[in-house]
């Protein structure tokens, strides 16, 4: 009996640990399905090399793909436009400990966001370190017990499990920070602090966040923030003033603004970690939207099989019809060819 009770409470704990299923389902209805194909055998890894959790994925202007992943150690790989392995960047680098995001800026510099070392690094296109933001907690302090108290006050130049990075046309830097701060920070292109919105405290009001998990910046300098535990996306203007909230496309897991004259917004209602019963039926899809929040269509679904998604952690949408997605739980990167002209409304 005791064992029975114990297992019952274990189940209860598991159910309580995550959000209620109802919250996971996007409010938007009758959204057209966008057909797509996943390119078979997209990334060709050399024998003996493996991806771990493929949390970060980005492309540069030449079509190279960068994958920042959690392997035995955290590693950054570069592949050419045909998916052939080119090289590893940052082997043994002090700012790599637990990958979270990789993005490529307008000059093809590669930026990594590492939530283990709390370091954001700008690499040149050749892979040399150009700028370091944040600081890794010093090892000399010894094996510090895991901190479980309330979040410590946010600091200008120190991150707490940062999640993502983006840039406006002036090359100002925006960082979502993160799991143990709840803010977006803006720096100038030289790395000097300009402003922040939010704080270490989580909140639900506009301009407050509960796990800002990703961000992307449009051509006007507006900032789109995936506000994950608030199940919404927040739009900020260039001075970090809240402009809009999109709360009808499910969990705010990750976000991408495409390039070109007509920019689109991609938002992923990623299925929750842990394969919770019933969750796959109502999550896993990615939304294509206008920047103003108008939903154009959706694609994809939760699945461990090729072509489906297993917790999409990051999207590259340089080309709005070629989406590269990195998944946590399938250690996989897929390249999706969208066929938006074939989209038609489907009632679900």
């Amino acid at each position: 009996m005791q064992r029975c009770l114990a297992s019952l409470s274990a189940v209860a704990l598991m159910l309580c640990a995550g959000p209620a299923l109802a919250q996971l389902k996007a409010k938007a209805e009758n959204v057209p399905e966008i057909p797509y194909d996943s390119v078979p055998n997209f990334l060709k890894l050399p024998a003996g090399e493996y991806l771990g959790e493929a949390v970060g994925v980005a492309t540069n202007s030449k079509g190279h793909t960068f994958v920042y992943h959690r392997s035995a150690t955290t590693r950054l790989f570069e592949f050419d436009q045909n998916g052939n392995f080119l090289k590893e960047i940052g082997k043994g680098y002090y700012g790599f400990e637990f990958a979270h995001s990789v993005r490529v800026d307008a000059e093809d510099n590669i930026w990594t966001v590492d939530e283990g070392s709390n370091v954001v690094t700008k690499f040149s296109p050749e892979g040399k370190v150009l700028m370091v933001l944040g600081r890794r907690p010093p090892a000399v302090l010894g094996p510090v017990a895991t901190y479980t108290g309330p979040n410590l006050p946010a600091q200008k130049y120190i991150f707490c499990r940062p999640t993502d990075v983006g840039w406006d046309p002036q090359e100002d830097i925006f960082i979502s920070d993160g799991y143990c701060n709840n803010r977006v920070v803006k720096y100038d292109k030289n790395g000097r602090f300009l402003a922040q919105v939010g704080s270490e405290k989580a909140g639900k009001e506009p301009g407050q966040f509960n796990l800002p998990h990703g961000l992307s910046v449009d051509g006007q300098g507006n900032v789109y923030v995936a506000d994950r535990s608030n199940f919404r996306y927040q739009v900020l203007d260039n001075n970090l003033k809240p402009k809009a909230v999109y709360d009808n496309v499910g969990v705010g897991w990750t976000v991408c603004v495409s390039q070109g004259p007509h920019q689109y917004l991609f938002a992923s209602n990623s299925n929750p970690n842990g394969n919770r019963p019933g969750s796959w039926a109502i999550t896993g899809e990615i939304y294509k939207m206008e920047l103003d929040g108008t939903i154009l269509g959706r694609f994809g679904h939760a699945s461990k099989e090729f072509g489906g998604f297993q917790v999409v952690h990051m999207m590259d949408c340089r080309n709005p019809n070629e989406i590269v997605v990195g998944e946590i739980e399938s250690w996989r990167v897929q390249k999706l060819i969208l066929k938006p002209q074939a989209a038609k409304a489907v009632t679900r």
């Binding site: 043994g92 680098y93 002090y94 700012g95 370190v129 010894g142 030289n190 000097r192």
Partner: protein
């Protein structure tokens, strides 16, 4: 309005100057060489705690990189890794790595080259001062690494916590607690700044025999808040950067207090030029969590009078991210190692 902005900024900077500064310190013009070190594709500098040159102009870099780790599933918890020592030639070409996987490398703190071109490194976490001969072989060890670490590290930090309870840690011996720097006098006596856990200077003869120790944690003359850096001039005077008390203390070679300089901020890195007319460089390094304060480097005469200053905290070339090391073998060509920017800059003063 826009055209007044620089004026306003200048006013703000002047207003922020320390109240103790009587006369404006001249600015020394300088350049930073682009890409002074050519790193192989698979080598990345981490926090660059130490940089030094030898008599041939070779450049040695002691850096916190890789991944400091502990081993699981062991009788106690063992910590290892996290620092590497690299050698470059005078043109910045990579030559070799020294001390791969050394037992003494965990948290790089400083590298210095003695007059015989031996390479001395100070590791803040293994509590070792290691002398490598010019070929890179271990020639002498001062200190000892704690066999194991306590998990979790006790909240009340101190020698037992940091040094893992090594017997005698912090005593008047060669057991150090977060040592920071090493220097020598003309007779080859060794002076170790010890450091951030202890707060003293330990003196050894050239054979590594302990001679004496002076200083304790405190603000009084002769004591240290932290002993962050050390340098010895040609007459044997010992200059110690007391970071926590924002002063440079000067002692004779027996540890008798002579004077102190209190107008150059946090002297996290010190260097005295060789030759008959010696100068002292001191970096008022910014804290690692803020680039909007401090960061400038002072050039001084040995009597403490200031010749000039250059640089400020920041991330661009010619800006500094917590300088932890200065090499001044050549008075007007300096190498500086930065914690925050994970790089070495080669500066030419004009």
């Amino acid at each position: 309005m826009k055209c007044h902005l620089p004026l306003l900024l200048t006013a703000a900077v002047l207003a922020a100057a320390p109240a103790g500064a009587q006369t404006p310190v001249p600015e020394i013009a300088f350049d930073s060489a682009p890409n002074p070190l050519a790193l192989p594709d698979d080598i990345y500098l981490g926090e660059t705690a130490g940089v030094a040159t030898n008599s041939k102009g070779d450049v040695f870099v002691f850096t916190r990189t890789g991944h400091p780790t502990v081993s699981l599933g062991t009788s106690r918890t063992f910590a290892h890794g996290g620092s590497r020592l690299f050698e470059f030639d005078r043109t910045g070409k990579f030559v070799r790595e020294i001390g791969q996987n050394s037992y003494g490398f965990m948290y790089a703190q400083q590298v210095r080259i003695d007059p015989q071109d031996n390479i001395w490194v100070v590791d803040q976490q293994t509590n070792y001062v290691i002398k490598f001969d010019p070929e890179g072989r271990v020639a002498m060890l001062l200190g000892r690494k704690a066999e194991a670490v306590t998990v979790p590290t006790p909240a009340a930090r101190g020698p037992q916590a940091i040094a893992g309870g090594a017997p005698g840690a912090g005593e008047q011996t060669d057991l150090f607690d977060r040592p920071t720097d090493v220097a020598w006098d003309g007779a080859g006596n060794i002076y170790v700044a010890d450091g951030l856990g202890n707060a003293r200077v330990a003196k050894f003869n050239k054979n590594g025999v302990f001679i004496k120790s002076w200083g304790a944690k405190g603000t009084e003359q002769g004591n240290f808040g932290t002993a962050r850096s050390i340098a010895v001039d040609a007459r044997g005077s010992v200059y110690v950067g007391d970071g926590a008390n924002k002063r440079i203390e000067v002692f004779d070679s027996d540890g008798n207090f002579k004077t102190q300089y209190t107008n150059v901020g946090n002297p996290q890195a010190l260097c005295i030029t060789p030759g008959p007319n010696q100068f002292l460089y001191s970096s008022n390094s910014n804290p690692p969590n803020d680039i909007d304060v401090a960061g400038e480097i002072y050039k001084m005469r040995l009597d403490g009078s200031i010749v000039g200053k250059f640089g400020r905290a920041g991330k661009l070339p010619k800006e500094f991210g917590t300088v932890n090391a200065i090499d001044c073998r050549n008075e007007n060509t300096l190498y500086v190692g930065e914690i925050g920017n994970m790089r070495v800059q080669k500066l030419t003063l004009r």
